[in-house]
Subunit: 378 residues, 2 copies
Amino acid sequence: MSINVAVIGPGGVGKAFLSQLAQYNKRSDNTYKLVLLARSKVAAYTDDLQEIAFDSWQSTLDKAIKPADLTAMLATLKTSKVPVILVDNTSNEAIAARYGEILDLGIHIATPNKKGFSSDLQAFKDTQRKAKGRGLCFHESSVGAGLPILSTLKDLVETGDTICKIEGIFSGTLSYLFNTFSPASAIDALKQGDDVGLPKFSQVVQVAKDSGFTEPDPRDDLNGLDVARKLTILSRLSGLDIASPTSFPVQSLIPEALESCESGDAFLKGLPDHDDAYGKQRAEAAQNDSVLRFVGSIEMATQQVSVALKAFPKTSAFAGLKGSDNVVAFYTERYGGLEGNPLIVQGAGAGGDVTAMGVLADVLKIGAIVQGRPGPGQ
Amino acid sequence: MSINVAVIGPGGVGKAFLSQLAQYNKRSDNTYKLVLLARSKVAAYTDDLQEIAFDSWQSTLDKAIKPADLTAMLATLKTSKVPVILVDNTSNEAIAARYGEILDLGIHIATPNKKGFSSDLQAFKDTQRKAKGRGLCFHESSVGAGLPILSTLKDLVETGDTICKIEGIFSGTLSYLFNTFSPASAIDALKQGDDVGLPKFSQVVQVAKDSGFTEPDPRDDLNGLDVARKLTILSRLSGLDIASPTSFPVQSLIPEALESCESGDAFLKGLPDHDDAYGKQRAEAAQNDSVLRFVGSIEMATQQVSVALKAFPKTSAFAGLKGSDNVVAFYTERYGGLEGNPLIVQGAGAGGDVTAMGVLADVLKIGAIVQGRPGPGQ
């Protein structure tokens, strides 16, 4: 049985996804047929869902003239004689708002788009309920890109383990900033009051921006909202009714005086005035043999969800983090509870290839389910 | 649709599995029906596969009089009108040798039994091929218990990532022995030549045995064969044709002079004579700011698979391991290759509850696939 795939969003993740899916098809039996491609304004597809060749998808999309109207696209996809997987590689809120409707049509969804799972609580619940009906919905890459974070949480919850706490570093950018600003290797010098040779916070942010590690305006990383969205998803999948990513304490790393700067450049110009305050926090942490890390935490017993800059002892897994890696620690009853050694997943949590990999793995899982298997004697 | 479950092996893992499955059924819609229970000599089942109540499985099995004859059990399971999952909670080689035949019958398999995947290469390949046919075969818990190790490797390989290296600590017992014998916190003292207060190797083994952390004869852990079986599985799933767990270098931690001891007790009595040799290795590692860990490694470029005691720098994830945790690092092209930061999974890799959890997660994955989903318009 073949499976039709519709891809919205041919950006960095979308390009990597199409390349990986084309390669997968070559290795296997060409199960997956690309039948629709869309970007913000235009879409390429035919009314009878003719296959689009993977090796010429770019030129097919360049020549597309149909409007990228989701309602019209869904009406056509609904007529498919074989299962359909919609791959939403955008971060578009309007598409995400229609996941429930899409699932009701029996169209499956694989997506790294956080919006559908971290915005309105009722919409999330509606999507979850409908994903148990005709359409399946997988979104591994919405947290930690291709790292097995959501699938692990799902296995823990579904098999009846009790989640006690989830704690992690969920932003590649903020991981990099604090691994560089407050490395474990600097603790000894800092304890002697020596910060010569260590970068100032504003310098680390500037280098990260110049290297393309931050959003165009670094405040879009430093406000913590991206981490808050991921925490919202993890909390909800753990069973907490979190109303929105702004309904719990999220520490912003933007100094109050710089919140109203008109541009990212103006912000970067003002940031050095606040280096002393960041340096003081780093020095205080070092006095306790600790480093600073920007973490998200979910405490199930008290239902407390928070995103904040915290100190972690140099022996902790968080202190040893490298580069822009993400890390998540699941403290569960079966893994020894709050005092036990947690189940840890760690690695690159951003980037086109690893994000696309998580989306493709979701597509293959949906593929396995829709293809089913006969029972004995059949 | 209901799914029939047949459970062989009601030991520690089997008991935990039955308890978890019973709880799952209560939380969901009683999808899973227990229809067969077997231990080494007897089996409880009826010719028409009547349901066995979860809350009285023990007394049902106690009263069982049918012989535990696999051929007869399979003949009956084959008549099931609904899908059947055989859960092999044993470490039995004879049952594992028949996985191919079981899959051919359209009976699905979920198991923590390493034997079916780490013994004869042709049997492994046969099982893998047949698991793409009518019957599905999942064995997450055969490596690292409930930790998402095999599912992660499968996602990496299936989505077309290139595995460069896999390295890890795959034995809870050997993890505990060396985390205790050679902790990172002892490096500074050892560099000064001071090992007062540090345990000798024989003491660590004795305490582990007394605490029930080792096999009855500790040599069954120290010979490295259990780790070699797990490495064999990981290598084969990565694409290497590994003939058997004894076809690559496996370092035994049993001093040659003690290999022929008649009993585990005689071995433990002789072990202190070798403490100096172990102590010397620990001191040498410390001179390089490193600790000793018993690791399995798979180098894909050179196809070299090995199990050995090696030194790791104190800043590595392996040096920071606690208790009896397992850890595995996947170095892949998408995660930066041999020089990049690997994808790491870490946590308890043994114990009835977490092993059973991995088996139940496999059962639920098989359940999702056999239940399938209708396509659009159906």
